[in-house]
């Protein structure tokens, strides 16, 4: 029953790609080429019109049901003092139309005009699993781990729900549920806000060499024509670029935020998708063309690494002066 994709399958699928690789433009390669990557081919996804919920979404929900947050139903959830609000998604627990702590992937539907044509796109949205995840790098308590294989995972028993990860995520992916987690044990009114939830790329399945459940469900329906495909990140990136070249299409995720574990192939430019999404009043999930915030701080990061040497070298010069002065003084006193 294993429909999981192995390195061999991807290589086979790549086929022609290897031949035309020489013509590929010099683009960034993933920093950990053997991590798992997922290809999301928007030219192939129809959003599963035959079922009420797309298969990738129901597979995710079925697998992760037991891990959804369960605040004590008998206890009202407190506001985030001094703010008059808190984030409680329980009323939308059954919603599969957006990301919530109870729904870690969904299919975003959008119509995009491009080249005189209207494209009805179905876009699987979830955590991109960045090569150098901004959320993991800057979580103030380091409770976000980049697992072997590249899955970015938030530890639910350590997270206090400050939601910084959502602020620094270029795609605002992690979703907060109040009333659960470590902060409830300390000062739930004054500090903390719950636990952040998002896709963890089925890191447990990856560890067993299997594909994430969403990929598995998609390929169970469509086989080789499935929009979703997982494999080694470098090969997924190469395949995505190859398909985009063949179709005259576009890729997203291979270089964004320094490269991610999710690469989209689209028949229309992502700037056009972004523009279409921006016209919506309540949309929360976009395709920004943003740089890696950590790369922007590169100068400051390097300065910090040089600082000890600068201090040591300066101190030896200053120390030498002091020793020299004292030796001179001793000599003028006749070596007393």
């Amino acid at each position: 029953m294993a429909l999981s994709v192995t390195r061999r399958t991807v290589l086979k699928t790549l086929g022609v790609a290897a031949a035309s690789a020489g013509a590929a433009p010099a683009l960034a390669a993933p920093s950990r080429p053997d991590d798992v990557g997922v290809l999301v081919d928007l030219t192939r996804c129809d959003g599963c019109p035959d079922v009420p919920t797309p298969r990738c979404v129901s597979a995710c929900r079925a697998k992760n049901q037991a891990r959804y947050p369960e605040p004590d139903p008998g206890e009202p959830i407190q506001d985030y003092w001094p703010q008059p609000k808190h984030e409680d998604w329980r009323p939308k627990r059954e919603s599969t139309a957006t990301l919530t702590p109870y729904n870690w992937t969904y299919v975003q539907k959008v119509s995009v005009e491009h080249g005189g044509q209207t494209h009805e796109l179905h876009i699987q949205r979830r955590c991109m699993h960045c090569d150098l995840a901004t959320c993991a790098a800057t979580c103030p308590f380091s409770v976000i781990e980049t697992k072997p294989g590249g899955a970015v995972h938030i530890a639910p028993h350590l997270c206090v729900g400050g939601a910084k990860c959502r602020s620094v995520c270029p795609w605002n992916i992690p979703q907060r549920q109040a009333g659960v987690g470590l902060y409830m044990e300390v000062m739930p009114k004054l500090a903390g806000g719950g636990v952040m939830f998002k896709c963890d790329l089925c890191f447990d399945r990856l560890a067993e060499g299997r594909a994430p459940d969403c990929v598995f469900a998609c390929r169970e329906r469509l086989g080789e024509n499935a929009p979703l495909l997982s494999g080694p990140r470098a090969e997924i990136v190469a395949l995505a670029r190859h398909r985009a070249r063949q179709l005259g299409g576009y890729t997203y995720g291979d270089v964004e935020n320094g490269g991610t574990g999710t690469v989209y192939v689209s028949p229309v430019p992502f700037a056009a998708i972004e523009a279409a999404l921006r016209t919506r009043e309540k949309e929360r999930f976009f395709f920004p063309a943003n740089p890696n915030p950590l790369a922007e701080a590169h100068g400051a990061l390097k300065a910090a690494l040089w600082a000890p040497l600068v201090g040591v070298a300066g101190a030896l010069v200053a120390g030498a002066r002091a020793v020299g002065k004292r030796r001179n003084a001793n000599q003028t006193e006749g070596g007393a």
Binding site: A137, S142, V168, A297, L305, L316, G319, R321, V323
Partner: protein
């Protein structure tokens, strides 16, 4: 206590000490503010609504601030440690029996009796120094690891990252406590005569004679000055070699393997120096002031 009289003064801190103190103090304040800004709190608690502080909840801004201030803090601490080790005469380093003596001094202050005579620093000053020094070294060490992991090649095992962050956060709490205790010490009237010395480097002579008679006796030559251990030019060259090599390895691991060249160059230079008996760096440091070769009774036993 004649703290207000304009009597003669005596030099307590040299210029470098003042520079070190203020570099650590000012960068430390920036680090505290920007570090807490890396927690999601200035937006929630509306600090960013205060006039002029709208930037406080911008993680990108406080991240950069924290790194630059961290570079200053780290350089100042490395400078301070190596300068004192190199030059010798580290009067604030704790001595045997400081715990008991600091208790006697505190008791004397509380009961308004005469304090036991002190050296240049009170026993509790030496202990406070060790405390804030150890906390600062923990902050710098964990901070450098946190910096290194942000480079694409700087992947560290997750437990290392988790524990490093814990050390950094807990040390921050201790640093904050130490900072408040430091300011709180000036609530004690007897300590206030020291305040001018951190701006001018000088302290009232009468105060020094009253409270630090063992120190003023050394200055006057009526008591022997304890022997100071200072590095020779060769020791200092070894310290610099080691620091260069360590930086080369650190940058080689996290930034680019090309930096391993720096460590390799140091290794070659050291081998050549050993074989020829000539080290240009040693001569340079000797010309700057370090003793050209090991004199009896000076130098750390580095060989």
């Amino acid at each position: 206590m004649s703290a207000k009289t304009k009597g003669p003064t005596v030099r307590r801190h040299d210029g470098w000490t003042l520079v070190e103190h203020w570099a650590v103090a000012l960068s430390g304040l920036v680090l505290l503010f920007s570090g807490f800004g890396q927690m999601p709190m200035y937006s929630r608690y509306m600090v960013d609504r205060l006039p002029g502080l709208a930037w406080a909840s911008d993680y990108a801004v406080t991240f950069q601030l924290h790194l630059w201030a961290g570079a200053v803090f780290t350089a100042a601490i490395a400078f301070h440690l190596v300068r004192n080790l190199a030059a010798g005469g580290w009067a604030i380093w704790p001595r045997r029996g400081d715990l008991g003596e600091s208790a006697r001094i505190l008791w004397a202050i509380l009961t308004r009796k005469a304090e036991p005579p002190s050296h240049k620093f009170l026993a509790e000053q030496r202990l406070a120094y060790l405390f804030i020094g150890a906390v600062s070294v923990a902050l710098v060490g964990s901070g450098l690891i946190k910096v290194a992991k942000n480079f694409p090649g700087g992947d560290l095992p997750y437990p290392v990252i988790l524990w490093t962050t814990l050390v950094h956060n807990v040390a921050t709490v201790f640093f904050l406590l130490g900072f408040f205790a430091h300011l709180g010490a000036f609530a004690v009237k007897a300590n206030r005569a020291l305040v001018p010395s951190i701006f001018t480097g000088r302290v009232d002579r009468a105060y020094a004679e009253h409270r630090h008679p063992l120190w003023t006796a050394e200055l006057d030559g009526t008591a022997p000055v304890p022997p100071t251990r200072s590095l020779t030019a060769r020791d200092a060259a070894l310290v610099l070699h080691g620091s260069l090599a360590a930086t080369g390895v650190l940058l080689g691991v996290v930034v680019s393997p090309a930096w391993f060249g720096l460590a390799a160059a140091v290794a070659v230079a050291q081998a050549v120096a050993g074989l020829t008996g000539r080290c240009p760096l040693e001569s340079l440091l000797g010309r700057l002031g370090f003793a050209p070769r090991q004199a009896p009774g000076s130098g750390l036993p580095l060989g």
